[in-house]
């Protein structure tokens, strides 16, 4: 027999091969439309979310830059005051600030042994080290617990009782403290926002990697604030310490593959047991941490 016979037989028989039913047009079209709508809304929300996080990151970076700027301005103001205060005091104090030396005993020792303990007029300078260097390094760099006075050991009793923030001496410190307080309040506002976002996410059992990344950024700032000489308030230091733990836990979620339920529960437990949110709100003035419109 010929191939033609086989071909026609094949075509005739093969018509029943996987014979399709009538086309379900409308059902398929409905699903096509739904799928396309879902894809376009998903793409739009991903774009919006990325934009929101980008703006948030930019706001945090701007806040840090402002903080650094305030620090430079304050340092410049204080250095110029030191120069105006007297030639014998300025080099010592300014040099210490830059070198980061700041122990009380070192300051006393240096001031007693240094040839520059004579003033410009050639007379012996019998002022206390604090009087010679009003913005003494120990005030800038040492963490001074509240109530204690960072006066030199050999300072007169009245000076020791006067404390670092009295009179003209305290003006620079107040400004420094105000800058620290402003930065801390701003930072606490950011942390509150992060923790609020985190709690919303953790309720779903999965935390967005951008939140863990954000927590990492805030963790760095928290550590800087803890180590700052301005962090003299023990309650604030305790709060920052607790925040450091919580932020570290959230950051470590990102290092693990997938947010584990146990980890999320531990973080929630930390938040609740330390009453972190309430303490942040108590320590944050209204409006701190507010972001520019659009973030």
């Amino acid at each position: 027999m010929t191939d033609d016979n086989f071909e026609s037989f094949l075509q005739r028989t093969a018509r029943d091969y996987n014979a399709p039913p009538p086309t379900p047009r409308d059902a398929m079209w409905a699903r096509i439309e739904a799928e396309r709508r879902a894809r376009s809304s998903s793409a739009a929300s991903q774009g919006g979310r990325a934009h929101r996080w980008l703006m948030l990151g930019a706001a945090i970076a701007a806040m840090l830059l402002v903080g650094i700027g305030i620090g430079y301005v304050l340092r410049g103001t204080m250095d110029s005051r030191l120069v105006a205060e007297g030639p014998s005091a300025a080099p010592d104090s300014a040099g210490r600030q830059l070198a980061g030396i700041g122990s009380e005993s070192a300051s006393v020792h240096d001031s007693g042994s240094r040839p520059g303990s004579r003033n410009a007029a050639g007379t012996t300078d019998d002022r206390t080290p604090r009087e010679r260097a009003p913005f003494a390094p120990e005030e800038r760099l040492a963490v001074v617990p509240p109530g204690s006075h960072a006066a030199p050991r050999n300072a007169p009793e009245s000076m020791s009782q006067q404390g670092p923030r009295s009179g003209g001496i305290g003006a620079g410190n107040n400004r420094e403290s105000a800058a620290y307080a402003a930065l801390t309040a701003e930072h606490l506002g950011r942390v509150e926002m992060l923790l609020t976002s985190y709690r919303a996410e953790s309720e779903r059992g999965q935390v967005d990697p951008q939140i863990t990344s954000w927590a990492g950024d805030l963790l760095g700032t928290t550590r800087l604030l803890i180590d700052s000489p301005g962090s003299s308030d023990p309650r604030l230091r305790k709060l920052l310490g607790d925040l450091e733990i919580v932020l570290t836990q959230i950051t470590q979620l990102g290092a693990e593959h997938g947010s584990k339920k146990d980890e999320l529960q531990l973080i929630d437990q930390s938040l609740r047991s330390h009453d972190v949110m309430t303490r942040i709100r108590g320590a944050t003035p209204a409006g701190a941490g507010a972001l520019p419109i659009g973030t």
Binding site: F9, Q11, A14
Partner: protein, 180 residues
Amino acid sequence: MDESQLLTRARAGDPAAERALYDAHVDRVYRLAYRLAGSDDLAQDFTQDTFIRAFERLKDFRGESSFATWLHSIAVSVSLNGLRKVKRLRTREADLNDAGDHEWSVRRAEPDLKLRLAQAIDALPPGYRTVFVMHDVEGFTHEEIAGALGLQPGTSKAQLSRARAKLRTALADFAGEWTA
């Protein structure tokens, strides 16, 4: 309204034009998907995916071939890729369950000609099978097949010839059916 006008309006995002294009081509796409997949669920999935992709990429369609050829090339690509995934999954399941109740096992147990033919078509290499289904089952021309599969028409003819030869060998027991 002709197809080029519909395409212009669909590119501009006109839903009515998209629906008109869908209505004009869905039957052939669905039939082809069903013939290749052998399952309504898979055929519907492949058809939907074909049109979703086509509408997403409509701006890339330059009209160098007909819209139908372009659409069928997407349909074949979607179907063959989908079937590969399904085959992988079924192989894994078969390995795990060591099940003997597969469709082809049932078919082997039946000495019926149509079932033997279905088994033989299923057993063809994917390229041969696609050309055979498109030409001998769905009635595509070699030019259409070549356009959809990115082949030369001569290659399509050669693959069809080899597919038929394999089927003839597989159906040798039933030679009387076509020699009578």
